[in-house]
Amino acid sequence: MTTLDSRSQAVLSIQLIDARGPRFGAILTTLMLAATLLTIPSTISIILLSIQTLVFGLGSLVGLAAQPYGVIYRRFVQPKLGKPTDLEDPRPPRFAQSVGLMFAVLGLVALLTGATTVAFVAVGAALAAAFLNAAFNFCLGCEMYLIGRRILGRSSVSV
């Protein structure tokens, strides 16, 4: 016997996605951010981080369907892997994209203004989150979300 509250019932009607897609994206993101770290401070690092910022922007603001790494995954990787074994809710990975976007924008602004130390910290933080996602399937932003809501928020639904 299971009782779901109204919000959870809404979850059931959401279109699920292949869980391997965001994981593949996290691997590419990890490589991009690692390459950015190794080239700071240089024009190459600005170009790399700009591309990654655009990727995060599309993934979070437009949606996972528009996320370039996801497009690469669906076009070139998924056909080789076959049917998905694990489906997941697209909201956690999309939320992760917005957390990544915040750090990437901060890093990019820091690079453009010559604040190299800030750039190292911001790109390093984004790399930590992407690497945890790629290597351990762990969503750092998702974990921080409830803590953030506990500190900042009141209950969004009055019962």
Binding site: V11, C139, C142, Y145
Partner: protein, 166 residues
């Protein structure tokens, strides 16, 4: 050079954290009567043995253990136990956990599975000191929180923990 050092530090730190989290994730812990905030591990579950978990030592003060009513969780308590799952929208393992707990509650008569949206019940989340989703609580027939796990628990562990409450 600095970039390489930052890269190595991040990879090492994140790996250590990831390995630690994988180890403790979803581990069911028995809630002691004295200090509900500091659950103690269930020895029987760690080794997978069938030993019955004894009551914690010390004076028995049942009122210090968190107590939930059907009004708190918005659903009727199960006649022998209730598995309460706190979930949120941005939570990938919540789905897996729901499937596991659904299956368990369907299998064992008298066990109810209640899923609570953590964001919509922040007061309850603060009162129970829930920090992440999914967090799973197992209540006995009276509604006392006896076992809790942060992260997706394994099915066998949930069944074993329910067994100790029956």
């Amino acid at each position: 050079m600095t970039g390489l050092l930052v890269l190595l530090a991040v990879l090492l730190g994140a790996s250590a954290f990831g390995v630690y989290r994988r180890r403790v994730d979803g581990q069911l812990r028995q809630v002691s009567r004295e200090r509900p905030d500091e659950p103690t591990e269930i020895p029987a579950l760690v080794e997978g043995s069938v030993a019955v978990v004894g009551a914690p030592d010390g004076p028995q003060v049942p009122h210090h253990r968190e107590h939930l009513t059907s009004a708190d969780i918005g659903a009727e308590l199960g006649s022998s136990a209730t598995v309460v799952q706190f979930s949120s929208a941005f939570c990938a393992p919540c789905r897996t956990t729901r499937v596991v707990l659904d299956e368990v509650s369907g299998m064992i008569p008298g066990v109810a599975h209640v899923e609570i949206d953590a964001e919509a019940h922040l007061d309850l989340v603060r009162r129970l000191d829930i920090r992440r989703t999914p967090t799973v609580l197992i209540l006995d027939a009276a509604g006392d929180v006896r076992v809790r796990a942060a992260g997706a628990p394994r099915k066998a562990d949930v069944i074993a923990a329910l067994g100790t409450l029956m």
